[in-house]
Every structure is written in C-alpha cells, then in structure tokens.
C-alpha cells in the first residue's frame, strides 16, 4: 500500500500539487486520472522520487520515503517497477538485455537463472522468442509490453504505469490494460496507473483518483465515476459526444 499525505510540489513558484492526500491499495489497479497539465504525472514522479516534493509524506507500506537516506531510497526503488509513457527502453540493448538489466545490476543469479526469468517475463507479456530484437525493431505496443516485462523482472511490490496507452491503437490499448490488470492480481502488487483514457478507467480501474488543477478532486471506484454528479468529473468523463450519448441513455433508463 502507498499512502500520500499532504503532498505539495511547486516548480519555480508555480504550485503544481496542492495538499494531496491519497491511498493506493495493494492488489488493486489504482488509477490517477485528470486532464493534461492537471499534475497527475508530477504526482506519480513525486511518489517514486523523480521529483522532490516541497512538503508531505509518502509511505511505502508505512516506510516514509522522503525521510530516507539515498541508500534506503535505492532499496525501496528496487521494489518499484515502472512503465514509462515512451517505454524508456535502452535502445542500445536487445529486448533480452533490457529485461535482464535490473537482474544483472541487483541480483547474483547465474546467467541461466537470469535468462529463465527473462523468458518467463517475456512469455508473460506474450513476447516469447523476441529476445534478440532491438527496441527500434519493435512496434509501439511491443515496446510497452517489453517495458512491462522489464518492470516486473525484479518481482516488484509496486508498479507505476505512466500513460500506458498513449500512442497505441484501441486494440493494443486493451491488451496492455489487460496485462496490467492480470499482473497486478497475479503478483498482488500495488499498481498506480496514470491515464486520461476513459476506456482504461472502465476496464481496469479498481480505485480512481481524479486530479483537477493540482488538487485531489474526487476518489471512488469505476462504477461511481459514471454516476457522480461532480461537475468537473462529468466534464472530463463525458467530454466526447459518444460518452455524452451513453450518459443520456443511462439517465433515461
């Protein structure tokens, strides 16, 4: 479980996050949604330590991340897997080397053990046999799946996904969403997904946190987000004509 308490973050006087309080539960897919520029990526990057918050607490299963030494933070980070918006694969390495990278850095496994783990992870994301390809030779969807394979290589307790569906077609997005959900349940991870894809919200959002203008505006499950009367959420969720029609039909019923 990850808890965020009274988190504030500003850049050069521009206050981006205002007093955020949120809890992200273990074994669930926790979504952070909001418009572009609302501060959701800053929130995620603050939680994993890529941004230093101004004030607040971030607790990883009760361990306060912000009070830790660099070594302790490094240890926590070994428990975190992250899928980046652009996949962030090391382009000078093959698929196999990318997934093997954290194992080589932080474990004392033999070459065979590492290869077995890599093959397991690649198999888990349906990329068996693609070991020797380079990221540049893979499609966007494949790169995301390689990113997931690398993120789970160390059997992390916490998984962060920053806009996992951006730039992907709807079919591939569904595959990626499905993988994130399956992996979360299978390995009982605390998963946080940053997205503004409503399909993901409906498909995989066990808990949804809505960020609006840098504030936590709303929190609930995927059912209640469709029925809430909160104006900002309605504007966000039913922004498209298609979604507005669905809402009108739901209201008529």
């Amino acid at each position: 479980m990850i808890e965020v308490k009274n988190l504030n973050k500003s850049f050069s006087g521009n206050h981006v996050l205002h007093d955020i309080n949120a809890t992200f539960e273990q074994g669930k897919v926790n979504l952070i949604i909001g418009q572009s520029g609302s501060g959701k990526s800053v929130l995620a990057k603050s939680i994993v330590g890529l941004h230093e918050p101004d004030t607040g607490e971030i607790l990883f299963d009760g361990r306060n991340f912000l009070n830790m030494s660099r070594t302790q933070k490094t240890d926590i980070r070994k428990e975190i897997g992250m899928l980046f918006q652009g996949s962030a694969l090391f382009d000078s390495m093959t698929v196999e080397e990318n997934v093997m990278f954290p194992l080589k850095m932080f474990t004392n496994k033999t070459a065979k053990e590492m290869l077995d783990r890599v093959n397991f992870c690649l198999d888990r994301v349906n990329l068996s046999g693609k070991n020797k390809l380079y990221p540049a030779e893979c499609s966007g969807g494949m790169q995301k799946r390689i990113g997931i394979a690398r993120a789970i290589a160390m059997q992390p307790k916490y998984l962060f996904c920053d806009e996992p569906n951006s730039g992907l077609d709807p079919m591939t997005s569904i595959v990626i969403d499905g993988l994130i959900r399956e992996i979360t349940y299978e390995f009982n991870m605390t998963t946080i997904v940053i997205t503004h894809d409503m399909n993901s919200v409906i498909e995989i959002g066990d808990r949804v946190t809505f960020i609006y203008k840098g504030k936590k505006w709303w929190e609930g499950d995927r059912q209640s987000i469709l029925t809430t009367d909160n104006k900002e959420i309605i504007d966000f969720v039913y922004a498209s004509n298609f979604m507005r029609e669905i809402r009108e039909n739901m209201t008529k019923k």
């Binding site: 490094t74 980070r77 992250m82 980046f84 918006q85 962030a88 080589k104 850095m105």
Partner: protein
C-alpha cells in the same frame, strides 16, 4: 552570465561527487569500461591516424620549406617535427579534435537518454545513473587517450618522414637523427600527463551537458554544441596551465 557560469561550475562539481561513488556492481562496471574503450578510443583510431599522418607531413614540409639559412642542419626537420608533435600536436590538437568527436557523441547520447526518460528508468530501478553512465566513460578515456597520443606521435613522425622523402627535402638518415636528437623523456611524460587531464575534462564536461539537457531534440543539439565549445576552451586553458606547471 557570470551567475550562470558559477551555477554551472557548482553543478559540475556536484555531478562529479555523485559520479565518483562506488559502482553498484564491479562486473557490470568492468564490461561498461571495455564497451566505452571501444566507443571512445578504438573508434577514434582511424580519425587520429589520418589526422596524425597528414599533420606530421605538413609540419615536416613547412619546416623544410622555411629552412633558408644554410647554417641550419638538415636534421632540424626531424627534430622540429618530433618536438612539435610531442609537445603540442599529439596531446593538444588531437584532444581538441576528440573534444568535437567524442564530446558531441557523449553529450548527445546522454542527452537523448535524458529526453527519452531512459535516465529516469535507471533512477527508478535504483541505479545511480551518473555513476553508471559517466564513470566508465571517464575511466575508458583516461586509459585510452594516452594510447591514442602515443599512436598519434608515431604516425605523425612517419607522416613527416614520408613527406620529406616524397618532396626530396632531406635524407632518411638526417630525419631519424633529428627525431632522436636532444630527446628528453620529460617531453613524453608531459604529453601523456596532458592527455590524461584532457581525457577527464572532455568526457566529464560532455557528460555534464548531456545529463542536464532540457527536454526536446533542439535542446539535445544545443547541449552537444555547448559541450564542444566549452570543451575546446577548457582544453586550451588547461593546456596553458599544465604547460606552466609541468615544463617549467
């Protein structure tokens, strides 16, 4: 501008403090050093070789054509070619050329990693990204630059000899005599010492500009250019300081 200069210097030394920490895993570090020796050193051999032969030849020709005074012995050509090559051309001019080639390569490589979130990915995994990326490059350059300088000295002297023979400006014997005349080991020590300092400065400055690149392709290009310009100036300033310190 002064404020920015001091900010950069402060950030640069902060970066070095993090770079020179213990590597996470020595086996990974060792492999990275060998990879970087190939990228920074071995891949520069052809450029260094071509430049050295031609510049050695030009030095010999220029000395030969300017030797109007009959009192000057013929071996002066070999002597001056050797001195110029060892004292200045091979360590300094070669470093300036490598500041362009290696410096822009390092800066754009790290800068691209920054903009494509690969550095964030390293940090999230718990890897000290500066240590992982920069320390092997510095180590490789510090090991291999002196080798390139020795290689460059040898090829320059061969270039000078070839030019002399082709232009019929002197004999092989007098050239070899000149190359060996009044030889001081200190000159070679000075050249190799300079190359170690230049290697460190070139790689660390290029890494600094690459690592602190702002987001965007334009910024990667800008960082690369700034790295080469700063490196060139730093090499020249360091050349002056080291010459004063070592030779006098």
């Amino acid at each position: 501008m002064i404020k920015k200069l001091f900010e950069n210097i402060g950030n640069f030394f902060q970066m070095l403090w993090i770079v020179f920490s213990k590597p996470e895993k020595w086996s990974v570090f060792r492999k990275r050093v060998f990879d970087e020796i190939e990228i920074i050193g071995i891949n520069s051999i052809s450029l260094v070789g071509i430049m050295s032969v031609f510049i050695g030849a030009v030095i010999a020709l220029q000395v030969g054509f300017n030797m109007d005074n009959p009192l000057l012995p013929e071996y002066t050509i070999g002597y001056l070619t050797r001195s110029t090559t060892i004292l200045e051309f091979s360590p300094t001019i070669m470093s300036l050329i490598l500041a362009g080639k290696v410096g822009s390569n390092i800066s754009s490589e790290i800068g691209t990693m920054k903009t494509t979130e690969q550095i964030d990915a390293l940090e999230i995994m718990g890897v000290n990204s500066l240590n992982y990326l920069v320390l092997p490059k510095i180590t490789a350059a510090v090991i291999f630059f002196p080798i390139l300088v020795i290689f460059s000295i040898g090829l320059s002297l061969i270039g000078g000899w070839l030019a002399l023979i082709i232009s019929d400006l002197g004999s092989t014997e007098s050239y070899i005599y000149g190359v060996r005349a009044f030889f001081k080991v200190k000159e070679v020590t000075y050249a190799l010492s300079k190359s170690v300092f230049f290697a460190f400065v070139i790689v660390s400055i290029a890494s600094y500009y690459g690592y602190y690149t702002k987001v965007g392709a334009v910024e990667v290009g800008r960082s690369s250019t700034e790295a080469v310009v700063t490196n060139s100036i730093a090499v020249l300033i360091l050349d002056l300081i080291l010459t004063q310190l070592i030779l006098f």
